[in-house]
């Protein structure tokens, strides 16, 4: 029997709502929740394909929340405890949520991850660290993006009930079998119930604060079919634009991991699907632009676009930086006009910051250099693991700054400072070297050329888009190549697809090869044009049978040859059987009538399920 249990409060401790772990994320709950939970999933990757994370809103009937009555009762007890106005408002909002006939739950679910590995009663397990740990990381990978185990609290910041349920299916190391586990955790305020003093902190699960490991004991919405983890933020605070806010946060923080196919997101029942194919469309979408403008995050959006361009551009220089005794970093450096002279630091494909200000290096001034943008990250592969670990130790819980004082040991701190300073020195050296301003003792003033050119001022200097720098850039449109002529016109005897039915199909005489197997045919033969050629593989398992459709451009006896369309050329396919006509030397001979759709089932001598090309020539009578 599952139930909510609160810890006893023997010390009569006064616990309010302002739990530090939650407060960290209270200012930007949707942004933080998206980033922190996304990061947890990213770090639990099993390394086979991208991690997939979805954020969906469930609207559940109150009866589907097994602990609703108990939670309502606890909130009512809290309302009777001493509290300030802010706490009262919060508790009343929570009471309103839990007494509502429909309870909103945000489900954050991942696949292609390890899930929250157990055993659930092992304090060292990922499950226990996430559900019951405070200030401990639940990451098994020391280079992972999370640092303090604080990020998990972001899911509470979007819950009016401050209640989160964790559900997982993971592979048990001992047995090798998939196991299920679920447990909820909530935090209200310290309260008294039936004369007994209780702490703010409670758990939903089996008696004795234990996890539920039998799926039959949880409602179906808590169960999981695949290995992975689900987080349910119960009593979700549904803001009108929570979907856009979360999508914006994911796009601006995870753009590199998405582009590298390390992670994909779906937000709001697929309203936003963030993957490599859709990323550009989303980063430039009017919806995200509007929400970014509303919540003053346009600069984040623009930064993500610029950094993605920097990473993808083949003009960008990739510089390996080796810090002795630490490992390797990679600096992606793009020099070009209009760029903002910034260095941005990413780790595990996730955006961190653009400075080392706590190391006395704001990285805002790069005198004597041309405009550029740069991305600095630990090298991908083993040589970047130690640098990633160091950056992780220096990251603050909000993951937006590097702070040396987070390393307590003075000697380690000194070492870390020296390594980071060596890194910054090398970054500056590379930028100065690559983006340096030309240093000559004389220079033509090209910027005045267009004004004082021979023949007048305004000739030949305005680009297509009005940009005044004709010497540097040329702009142009691609030209569409002429469509291939249909077979009867080209004389190739090949099928052509989809000319309008009214278009006359003209035969043409051709000489030489009638197929693609390089057999020469003596004399002159007419190629028969074939229109709207289609084919289907009638038995994909067998792969040898194919139904072909075409509309011939002549009444004739034809010889039809089929070729496999290869990577660079075609290879003849040998027909061994056909439902009409006769097969001669691997080709089909049959009669066709102009404009009359033909459908022929052929069998090849060996399986082929790829694209084909057809050619038809007249059979000499």
């Amino acid at each position: 029997m599952t139930e909510i249990e609160f810890l006893f409060n023997q010390a009569n401790k006064v616990e309010g709502l302002a739990f530090a772990g939650f407060e960290t994320f209270r200012g930007s709950p949707y942004k933080s929740c998206a980033r922190e939970t996304g990061q947890n999933s990213r770090d639990a990757s099993i390394g086979k394909g991208p991690v997939k994370v979805s954020f969906n809103l469930l609207k559940l009937e109150r009866a589907d929340i097994p602990f609703a009555d108990r939670l309502q009762h606890a909130i009512e007890c809290c309302l009777q405890s001493p509290h300030d106005e802010k706490t009262r408002q919060h508790l009343e909002r929570a009471h309103e949520q839990i007494t509502s006939p429909v309870i909103k739950v945000l489900e954050i679910s991942d696949t292609n991850t390890t899930g929250l590995t157990g055993p659930t009663d092992d304090p060292g397990s990922v499950f226990a660290a996430l559900v019951k740990g405070d200030g401990v990381t639940n990451k098994s990978d020391p280079t992972s993006a999370g640092s303090y185990g604080i990020g998990k609290n972001a899911a509470y910041a979007v819950s009016d009930l401050q209640t989160v349920i964790y559900s997982t299916r993971y592979i048990d190391k001992a047995s090798g079998h998939a196991k299920f586990a679920a447990q909820g955790r909530l935090r209200l305020i310290s309260h008294v119930d039936g004369g007994q003093k209780f702490s703010a902190e409670g758990y939903w699960g089996n008696a004795g604060f234990n996890a539920i490991e039998d799926e039959e004991e949880v409602p179906t919405w808590v169960t999981r079919a695949d290995v992975g983890a689900s987080i349910f933020s119960v009593g979700f605070r549904e803001h009108d634009d929570w979907i856009e806010r979360m999508a914006l946060s994911l796009a601006t923080n995870f753009f590199l991991a998405i582009d590298r196919k390390e992670i994909e997101f779906s937000v709001g029942d697929g309203q936003f699907k963030l993957n490599r194919s859709s990323l550009d469309g989303i980063l430039h979408s009017a919806e995200l632009e509007a929400i970014a403008s509303d919540i003053d995050q346009v600069s984040d959006l623009e930064r993500a676009r610029r950094l993605l361009e920097c990473i993808r551009s083949e003009v960008t220089g990739r510089h390996d930086i080796c810090i002795p005794g630490l490992g390797n970093f990679t600096l992606h450096l793009l020099v070009g006009e209009g760029l903002p002279r910034e260095v941005h630091i990413l780790r595990n494909g996730i955006y961190i910051t653009d400075n080392f200000v706590k190391f006395g290096q704001p990285m805002k001034s790069f005198p004597g250099t041309r405009e550029f943008i740069a991305v600095l990250e630990p090298a991908q592969g083993p040589s970047g693991e130690a640098p990633s670990r160091l950056l992780k130790r220096l990251e603050n819980p909000a993951h937006d700054e590097f702070e040396p004082e987070r390393i307590v040991d003075p000697r380690e701190l000194q070492t870390a400072r020296s390594k980071i300073k060596a890194l910054i020195t090398e970054v500056r050296r590379i930028i100065r070297s690559v983006a340096k301003i030309d240093d000559m003792d004389h220079s033509q003033l090209e910027e005045l050329s267009h004004l004082f050119a021979q023949g007048g001022a305004d000739e030949n200097y305005q680009g297509d888009d009005g940009e005044r720098d004709p010497e540097r850039f040329r702009y142009g449109d691609a030209r569409r190549n002429g469509r291939s002529e249909p077979s009867g016109v080209s004389g190739e005897g090949r099928g052509s697809r989809g000319r309008g039915p009214e278009t006359p199909i003209r035969p043409r005489t051709r000489t030489g090869s009638a197929g693609r197997n390089n057999e020469r045919t003596a004399g002159t033969r007419h190629a028969i044009p074939l229109e709207a050629v289609r084919s289907i593989v009638s038995d994909p398992i067998n792969g040898r049978e194919r139904v072909i459709f075409f509309t011939p451009g002549a009444d004739d006896d034809i010889e039809l040859s089929i070729a496999a369309a290869g990577l660079s050329g075609d290879v003849a396919l040998k027909i061994v059987h056909s439902d009409i006509g006769t097969v001669v030397n691997g080709r089909l001979r049959t009669s066709v009538r102009t404009r009359q759709r033909a459908s022929i089932k052929v069998t090849f001598d060996e399986p082929f399920v790829g694209p084909i090309e057809l050619a038809a020539v007249e059979v000499k009578k």
Binding site: S277, D438, L445, R480, G498, R534, V537, V609
Partner: protein, 280 residues
Amino acid sequence: MKFSEETSYPHPVLAPWSTDISGASFSTTITFREESESKQVSVHCATVLDQVEILELIRSGSATFGCFIKCLDTGFRRLQTFGFPEGTHHFAPGALLGRVSIRPVIWAADCITNYHPKGVHAEFGSSTDIAVGQILALDEEQTIEVTRPPIAPIESIFEIVSSDEVTKSSFEVDTGADRITVRMDKDTYKLVQALRQTNDVSRTVVMNSLYVPVVMEVLDQVIKGGGFEQFEQYRWLYPFRDRCQLLDVDIEKLNLLSDAQRLLEQPFESLHQLVDDEVA
């Protein structure tokens, strides 16, 4: 990789020449930018696609848009992904030269089961499974010519020179050579070079603080020497005189400050504009 308009795929392919899928279209507008010095080419694709299933496949990551790019001059052959519906790719300098053919393509990034797009021709039957890498849509091949058409070289008639003989933080204008030469001490020269290469604001500042007085000085020397004829042996004279005539700058009735600004296209306006942009 071969993409032919005559190829028949064993599944429906959306293409301008095909009737496999009716009532839908896929079309790509391709533009490019060529950087003349480094021969660096950036290609931009803007795609219009209105086939709902393929759109959804791209949105969900099960299909990808890109272009197959071939360049005979450099041997470059690559299926390059592009952002959808719009995206730009910056190719390495020298990667593309001369004629470059570009074929827009959408292909399956995942296995797609029961593919049966709206408008599919009845001959394809009920549905089909698509393997990773199979083509879902093609547009016509397009061509760009990277080689620049010859542009008459526009040589500057002005140059700046670092000189130890000029007083610190000042400059001198020398009209007695083929180019109008602005001499300055080393530090000023470095400053001007830095400003010229820093950003639009600093470039505009140089235009106002250096080039305007230089042109004023040239005009002043023209007046004091009795006209343009005194400089006939120098190449800079002809473009400079043409510019004056084009803008009706009358050498007999010169207003040095305003005429210099006219000849330089009112550079102060550009500064205003840039400051306004910064503030906005």
